[in-house]
């Protein structure tokens, strides 16, 4: 199988990105459903239910009502004028997903999946979480819809994100520490998948990113795509044109695909994903699956993965727990191969510098994850003329990271 099926630029230029995934859940050669036999039937049931619901006017209306009145959408596009001046290049615009209820884009997806769970008659919800944002967003909607909630979280992440752990508990969720493997997001995902295999009759698994087996990459994208749809309309309304370039951070890739998707067929808009380069890609301590990985199979889908020559998934590193993942959503793998998007690494240090610069210039504390996107926006803006527009997804707020940042800088609170 060719890793790059779209070497032919003409073929890539003709792709209609709204047509993906295909009926088998494929984005080109990526995606699919590589799962144990016990999960095939429940996934098929979920795919059928979602296929029905995604075009059901009553379902869509309820989803949109919750996004408006519960989440607080639409989130604004904010012109980071002082930051742009400091950088001295293009204008940096921020899509303020940090202003959503619970403080990140994750709630868009959890509301959607909780509505699917309810429609399917499932009373128990499980989720995995890395930084805790998806766990909080899941615990939140479970409280809102009266569903039992169990969140799996790596023991290392529990240490790094104590505040989000307590937040989930306040919302009535049970947080289960995962001590296997690297004790981070991927292990939490493994454990949640095991729970689902065992309790599939009454349990709905709310996956937090655009990875996993079909239909998750599609479903999670669709629920987050509101970000890009809004942004596209807001750009036309506020600026009379589309941005020159989009950027967003990519761990699993849900906020990024959420922003990118509505613009995929706008070929004049450049798209750049910012992966976690950790201590630098050359150091080996990073989580840049697209920039430094290779096609493989992980967590139910074919995608780019970080692994050794024996196919063992390698431990990743990022200062931000939410990007600390050795795979990536299959649609991003597809966009990389078609050349529609490019993916670059942003180091821990660059992300932290961007965090501080945004805080001081605009009064916004960005999540460490989102700070990778801000760092990339700064790099892009520097190379572009003053009238160019860089739209950056500020996917979450940084309150949860204050302790991590203080500890890293040797400050005890």
């Amino acid at each position: 199988m060719s890793a790059k099926p779209f070497d032919d630029a003409a073929a890539a230029a003709a792709i209609d990105y709204t047509q993906y995934p295909d009926a088998r859940g494929r984005f080109g050669t990526y995606g699919g459903s590589y799962v144990a036999e016990t999960l095939v039937a429940p996934l098929a049931e979920l795919a059928a239910a979602y296929e029905r619901l995604r075009v059901d006017p009553a379902f869509i209306a309820e989803f949109e009502r919750d996004l408006k009145y519960y989440v607080g959408r639409p989130s604004p596009i904010y012109h980071a004028e002082r930051l742009s001046q400091q950088v001295g290049g293009a204008q940096i615009l921020l899509k303020r997903e940090d202003l959503n209820h619970t403080g990140a884009h994750k709630i868009n997806n959890t509301i959607g999946q909780a509505l699917v769970a309810r429609a399917m008659g499932k009373r128990r919800v499980i989720a995995e979480t890395g930084a805790g944002q998806h766990g909080v967003a899941t615990a939140t909607v479970c409280a809102r819809f009266g569903l039992d909630c169990v969140v799996y979280m790596g023991a290392t992440d529990i240490e790094r994100q104590a505040i989000n752990v307590y937040r989930m508990k306040l919302l009535g969720a049970q947080v289960v520490p995962v001590t296997s493997g690297s004790k981070t997001l991927k292990d939490a995902l493994n454990e949640a998948m095991r729970d689902w295999v065992t309790n599939v009759a009454d349990t709905f698994y709310i996956i937090g990113t655009v990875a996993g087996p079909h239909p998750y990459p599609q479903m999670v994208r669709d629920f987050n795509a509101v970000v890009g749809r809004e942004a596209r309309a807001q750009m036309l309304e506020q600026y009379g044109r589309l941005p020159d370039v989009l950027t967003a951070c990519v761990g699993g890739g849900s906020n990024a695909i959420g922003l990118f998707h509505a613009f995929l067929n706008d070929r004049e808009v450049a798209i750049v994903g910012a992966e976690a380069a950790g201590e630098g890609i050359a150091s080996g301590h990073h989580a840049a699956s697209l920039a430094a990985g290779r096609p493989g199979v992980l967590h139910g889908n074919r995608t780019y993965v970080l692994c050794d020559d024996d196919g063992q998934i390698t431990e990743t590193h990022s200062v931000s727990a939410g990007l600390d993942y050795p795979g990536v959503g299959p649609e991003h793998a597809f966009l990389k191969d078609t050349g529609r998007a490019s993916y670059v690494g942003v180091t821990d240090d660059e992300a932290l510098a961007a965090f501080h610069q945004l805080a001081r210039s605009e009064g916004i504390l960005a999540a460490l994850e989102s700070s990778h996107a801000v760092a990339q926006a700064i790099k892009l803006a520097r190379e572009l003329p003053k009238d160019a527009l860089v739209l950056c997804n500020l996917s979450g707020r940084g309150d949860k990271d204050v302790h991590t940042i203080a500890a890293r800088e040797g400050i005890s609170l």
């Binding site: 088998r24 799962v35 095939v40 599939v200 199979v297 992980l298 063992q312």
Partner: protein, 270 residues
Amino acid sequence: MSRIDIRFSELRNTGRTGLIPFITAGDPLPDATVALMHALVEAGADLIELGVPFSDPMADGPVIQHASERALAKGVGLAQILGWVRDFRARDAATPVVLMGYMNPVEIHGAARFAQEAAAAGVDGVLLVDCPVEEIDAAAPLRAAGLDQIFLAAPTTTDARLVRICAAAQGFLYYVSFAGVTGAARLSLDDVRARVAAIRQQASTPVAVGFGVRDAASAAAIGAFADAVVIGSALVERLAGAASEEELRTRALGFLAPIRAALDTRGHGR
């Protein structure tokens, strides 16, 4: 006829139920893996399932996950495992060996290269846990190299899919006796019996039953209607921590001998 087919035909002709122990390759003592495989045969194994350790074994329970982690920590890899099979084959040309593992190591190794090397080493079949029949194209090189592709069926498998799985199955069909990960302890015998009977209507291959078989009693109960029983987690748990080749052999014999005896004295009640 593959080595697996020959073995099941021998079992059928002698009216015996097959015993299929699963071990994680390289656990607990990498250098004793070949000796352990011979000990399993000595203890009555008709076929050996050799688990290829993977860092992210989503379908396995804690016992086998920990065995995988231990083996990986000792640097066990695919090339080494194929070497062990080759060494095993030097003294045992009859006992089929099935590799059980996940897609990514095979993909990264290169499916065609893996298939050729595995067949050359004396591997007879491959069970890729995360490769359901819908994704069978990904495993085409295995068949091309003459390896049997073993498929799983589960309580959640629909009738329509069962038809497809039975049509694709080679060697034997592995029925997972309940919806859960390996090593969980739930088993409703009546459900399993009814389900295996239904599978028999469809399948041209023998049916092995696993997931939740722990001891002589459960093995004998399952063996009354299955062509073979698979014992994994309980055996891996028993072998864990053994400090020498001899201790491994003693533990394997001690654990499997009563199961073998129970399967054999029960007679073939089908």
